[in-house]
Amino acid sequence: MSRKSVMPGFGPTIGFTLLYLGLVVLIPLSTLVFESFKLSWDDYVHIITSKRVLSSFRVSFIAALIAASVASVFGFITAWVLVRYSFFGKNIFHALIDLPFALPTAVAGIVLATIFQPSGFLGKLLSDLFGLQVAFKPLGIVIALIFISIPFVVRTVEPVLLEFETSMEEAGSSLGATRLQIFTKIIFPNIFPALLTGFALSFARGVGEYGSVIFIAGNIPYVSEIVPLLIVIKLEQYDIEGATAIALTMLVISFVLLFLINLLQLWVRKRSGQL
């Protein structure tokens, strides 16, 4: 299997890696696939096309799409500011970007729900000013997903911006381009693959997110019920078949997204000359 190498330990380490991967990840995950064989195609279609399931997919996808878009715009600006400008407290600011990675989702969930509930700090402000209710509405889901998306975008774009050759900008400006032209014609095309990767990572995470969403979403069937929650509900109702069908669909979607993200990252690395 391997080209003979002088480094020691190929056999034991690859053996352990495959065994552990199999036991912890692949075998448990494959049960979902095998479990779904118990379902006939008709059963499967029946479950997936039921109105409640379709609504939950619609809610999850639209919310994740909007959240990833918003996070991409503001995350890009944040990454730009962090790389290019200096301001007081930048280092603390920089470290805080990763809070959504480090903060347990349940904590994020109750905090966001508390802030945006009608009596909450921002919830009251928004409803007084714009008559807008965030919590217990689909908009609440979007807010929670923006929170968890921030580091995905910032941390994907930031290294590419850091590596970006400023000499290209200098070349552009020596050829007479304006600052705006340099941004749109030189900088943005180079950053775009990374930004798209950040967007895709956010979207993928958003579709599967559970903890931070369920407290703020209100979880009203057909309106603000997300797919992961529906799996939990089916499970609590001992509807294993229903849970399996929905979970398998989600899993396939995740794998497709994983594949696309891998392609994107390959593209980013090709762009930045690492391949």
């Binding site: 299997m1 080209r3 190498s5 002088v6 480094m7 190929f10 690859i14 352990f16 890696t17 552990y20 991967l21 912890v24 990840v25 448990p28 995950l29 049960t31 600006i77 944040t78 730009w80 500011v81 962090l82 790389v83 920089h94 805080l96 990763d98 809070l99 990675f101 480090a102 903060l103 347990p104 989702t105 349940a106 904590v107 969930g109 905090v111 508390t114 802030i115 921002l122 929170f147 995905f152 941390r155 970006f164 200098e170 400006s173 600052r179 990572l201 579709v207 599967g208 797919v227 992961p228 929650l229 799996i231 939990v232 499970l235 001992y238 399996t244 979970a247 989600m250 794998f255 994983l258």
Partner: protein, 287 residues
């Protein structure tokens, strides 16, 4: 999916030349947008945890924390981390060695497989263990016969956490060891060192900061995981509640002080994680 951020080399921060500087109004405008955005979505929530936890005074905070259910949740959370983090750390080191030090067919596929738990919804990560070990599950009958409880018990929580935190350490080490190359290791071998000696005196010192970084992130997730654990735990108070689950249960019972008191511990954990993470990034950049 790569949810892990690569430590950035701070030395590379570009010092802008005057000719290329953005106009002042652009700089101020963008900085204001970025600061407002991050404040709204990150600073405000962080402040609120602390505010709510102490909203009924220090006394209430303390009694919420010293409550038997909270203490048992803390114990279980620590137990889960103590078992899962070392196992996944060991795996991470071994997998990174196999992947970065040898050429074999299917290597990039294997690397992708390691990433799988990142891309699976936490709920599904819990659900698959219910399918395996639940009462209706594949090993359900056998487990009941032998009176072994996995689902709605600590083992289920540990297994689900093991799955969720599986890629963290490997994901940190693989890119670093790839970039490092193996010349120093070859040098050690050429000077007569054996395999273990080479690993402990050359490889380990070179990867230690990245390793700690991975362990740190792995630990934060192991202690904070909610979705997967929620599916397998059964929410039995004082028995199978981890700290994040305790937060949920208290919150749903309108016990706001207790919920935020537990949340404050987790938030403190997150802040400690961020501080250590920043320190490690700095250490690694100045390796």
């Amino acid at each position: 999916m790569n949810t892990i951020t690569q430590p950035l080399n701070k030395d590379k921060v570009v010092t802008q030349q005057r000719a290329l500087q953005d106009p002042t109004w652009v700089r101020w405008g963008l900085t204001a947008i970025a600061i407002s955005f991050i404040s709204l979505f990150i600073c405000v929530p962080l402040g609120l945890v602390i505010f709510q936890a102490f909203s009924k005074g220090l006394q209430a905070y303390w009694s919420a924390l010293s409550n038997a259910d909270t203490l048992s949740a803390i114990r279980l959370t620590l137990l889960v981390a103590i078992i899962t983090v070392p196992l996944n750390t060991l795996f991470g080191i071994i997998a990174a060695w196999a992947i970065t030090r040898f050429e074999f067919k299917g290597k990039s596929f294997l690397t992708t497989l390691i990433d799988i738990p990142f891309s699976v919804s936490p709920v599904i990560s819990g659900f698959i263990f219910v399918l395996l070990f639940g009462a209706e599950g594949w090993f359900g009958n056998w487990l009941v016969e032998h009176d072994i409880k996995i689902i709605f018990a600590a083992p289920g929580i540990i297994l689900a956490t093991l799955f969720i935190t599986f890629p963290f350490v490997a994901r940190q080490l693989i890119p670093l060891m790839q970039e490092m190359g193996n010349q120093e290791e070859e040098a050690a071998l050429s000077l007569g060192a054996g395999g273990w000696k080479m690993f402990f005196s050359v490889t380990l010192p070179n990867i230690k900061w990245a390793l700690l970084y991975g362990v740190l992130l792995c630990n934060a997730r192991a202690m904070g995981e909610f979705g997967a654990v929620s599916v397998v735990s059964g929410h039995i108070r004082g028995m199978t509640n981890t700290l994040p689950l305790h937060v949920e249960v208290s919150y749903n019972d309108y016990d706001v002080v207790s919920a935020f008191a537990s949340a404050s511990i987790l938030a403190a954990l997150a802040i400690v994680t961020l501080i250590l993470k920043t320190t490690l990034e700095w250490k690694q950049a100045n390796r």
